[in-house]
């Protein structure tokens, strides 16, 4: 198809006009909150081949909106521009498994955590790495947790290479405890690349949120497994929360109210079972 000159001019004019649309022009209509996600983090948030979103976080959001009586739509964006875009007012909230940390709390506000996300290591079955399970979750913020890492995790991973997502709390965790003890750390822009390297033997282990790991191990039952217990606390933070702009109580209020109700009546626990195969609701 050939583009005529007049068509081209029209297109360019349209593009030029779309540069600057005063968003105030739309403020008359009832407030519809825009939530942004990555749409690429199974099973939290995923994209259908028709471009719609699904997953634990989408179900949760739908329920929270129903209880809090607010309107919403979901859009996607790459993680790189997400926090800045939120602070800039390009949309209203992030629901993308963002872990609540002190560092992030300085610039944005978080809802209550919506899963009790712990972290673990995935390894190749024939990779010769094995960490014993201690039964319970290991709190890396406490003395016995630190002792467990020194006596069990460090010896198993010494001289090996562990992959983690850049900017993640898991990266901080392995940098703090493993890197000084002779474990090589490799950073990845996204976990998919880390899993790929683990499968192809370029990595010995991947440290990531349990839910993400479980999904990977599920799909690669024959070759991959989780080794050792789940870790939480300390630099690993409090689990993921919905992110809003600092001081946006109008949105945060109904979200937190809904999360409290859903925890109390057991529906949050049901929802985590539906998507993760086990109860991951925060016990707090």
């Amino acid at each position: 198809m050939r583009m005529t000159r007049s068509k081209f001019v029209k297109l360019m004019t349209a593009a030029a006009i779309s540069v600057a649309i005063p968003s105030a022009a739309f403020s008359e209509s009832p407030k519809k909150y825009v939530f942004v996600t990555g749409g690429d983090f199974a099973p939290y948030d995923m994209t259908n081949p028709d471009g719609t979103f699904y997953g634990f976080e989408i179900d949760l959001l739908r329920e929270l909106a129903k209880r809090g009586k607010f309107d919403f739509e979901v859009r996607q964006m790459a993680w790189d521009g997400m926090m800045q875009s939120l602070m800039d007012g390009k949309f209203d909230a992030i629901i993308y498994s963002v872990t609540i940390t002190d560092e992030r709390l300085k610039v944005v506000d978080f809802s209550l955590p919506y899963t009790s996300e712990a972290s673990s290591f995935a390894v190749e079955k024939d990779g010769g790495i094995s960490v014993p399970t201690s039964g319970a979750k290991v709190n890396i913020g406490e003395a016995d947790g630190k002792a467990f890492i020194e006596s069990k995790v460090v010896p198993a991973l010494k001289g090996k290479t562990v992959g983690a997502e850049a900017g993640s709390t898991q990266l901080n965790f392995v940098k703090q405890f493993l890197e000084p003890n002779g474990v090589e750390i490799r950073q990845y822009v996204g976990l998919p690349q880390a899993y790929q390297d683990l499968a192809s033997g370029r990595l010995d282990a991947v440290v990531a949120a349990d839910t993400s790991l479980a999904d990977f191990v599920d799909k690669n039952k024959d070759t991959a497994e989780v080794t050792g217990p789940a870790y939480m606390g300390g630099t690993l933070g409090l689990g993921p929360g919905i992110v809003v702009r600092k001081g946006d109580t109008a949105l945060l209020g109904p979200i937190n109210e809904g999360l409290k109700q859903m925890t109390a009546d057991g529906s949050l626990s049901e929802l985590t079972k539906k998507w993760f195969g086990r109860d991951l609701s925060p016990t707090r």
Binding site: A15, V19, S23, D40, T47, M77, A78, P192, Q196, F216
Partner: protein, 239 residues
């Protein structure tokens, strides 16, 4: 294997149409960016060739800055800085903001300006490759500056410029992936989303590679055709 391939197909449960849309987005961003780059690049090359001393200095500073800064930084500047800038202007002339810069505009402008720096160098080199004698001859027979430009400089400079501009275009196509930070879904972003949702990393990386290859192979053909057409005069001269 067949089941897996249907994931990138156009049937139910296939990502084909989203991937195709992403390919078109890559193409759209790249085309606008390339044209922005060509337009600004021409101005910059012109400034460096025949501007006054301060204009030349400004133009070469422009080239140094945009060749030396990563494109992601320029995109942030437009996408995040643009809103504050436009809103400030709006307030100054009495229009209530805030004004939003669309991801497409910020992305295409950023990639385009980055490319304009290298495109201006290609164009400047092409101009300098035009034999001075032909320009002098033109002015001796009484051509105006515009005629001289149109009939003598452009036909000869294009012969040198087109292969270089073809390279610039390929660079723009690959650089265009950075626009995903503004929420646009181009090829790389769609590959990330599809592989994250299905855990089929290699399959979708392969699909993405195929899309890029289709675009770049077609552009190669176009560049070659363009080269043949601007060399038309040369052939006649030889014969």
């Amino acid at each position: 294997m067949i089941e897996k391939l249907s994931l990138v197909g156009f049937g139910a449960g296939g990502w084909g149409s989203l991937l195709l849309q992403a390919g078109l987005m890559t193409l759209a961003v790249s085309m606008v960016a390339f044209l922005v780059g060509l337009f600004v690049g021409t101005l910059v090359a012109w400034a460096r060739i025949s501007g006054s001393r301060p204009v030349r200095a400004f133009a070469s500073a422009y080239v140094s800055v945009f060749r030396g800064v990563p494109d992601i930084l320029v995109i942030y500047l437009f996408f995040f800085g643009g809103r504050q800038f436009l809103t400030a202007i709006g307030t100054a002339i009495g229009i209530q903001g805030p004004f939003e810069v669309s991801g497409f505009v910020a992305g295409a402008l950023a990639v385009g300006l980055i490319s304009s720096a290298s495109q201006s160098e290609v164009l400047r080199g092409a101009y300098q490759a035009v034999p001075k004698g032909t320009i002098e001859a033109g002015s001796v027979v009484g051509m105006t500056r515009l005629t001289l430009f149109r009939r003598v400089i452009v036909p000869q400079a294009l012969v040198t410029a087109i292969p270089g501009l073809g390279n610039q275009w390929q660079g723009v196509v690959k650089d265009s992936a950075v626009v995903s930070v503004t929420g646009l879904v181009e090829i790389m972003r769609q590959v990330a989303v599809a592989s994250g949702s299905t855990r089929e990393y290699l399959l979708f990386a392969g699909a993405g590679a195929v899309l890029y290859l289709i675009i770049t192979t077609l552009s190669d053909q176009i560049t070659r055709a363009a080269e043949r057409s601007v060399r038309h005069g040369e052939k006649r001269k030889v014969a």
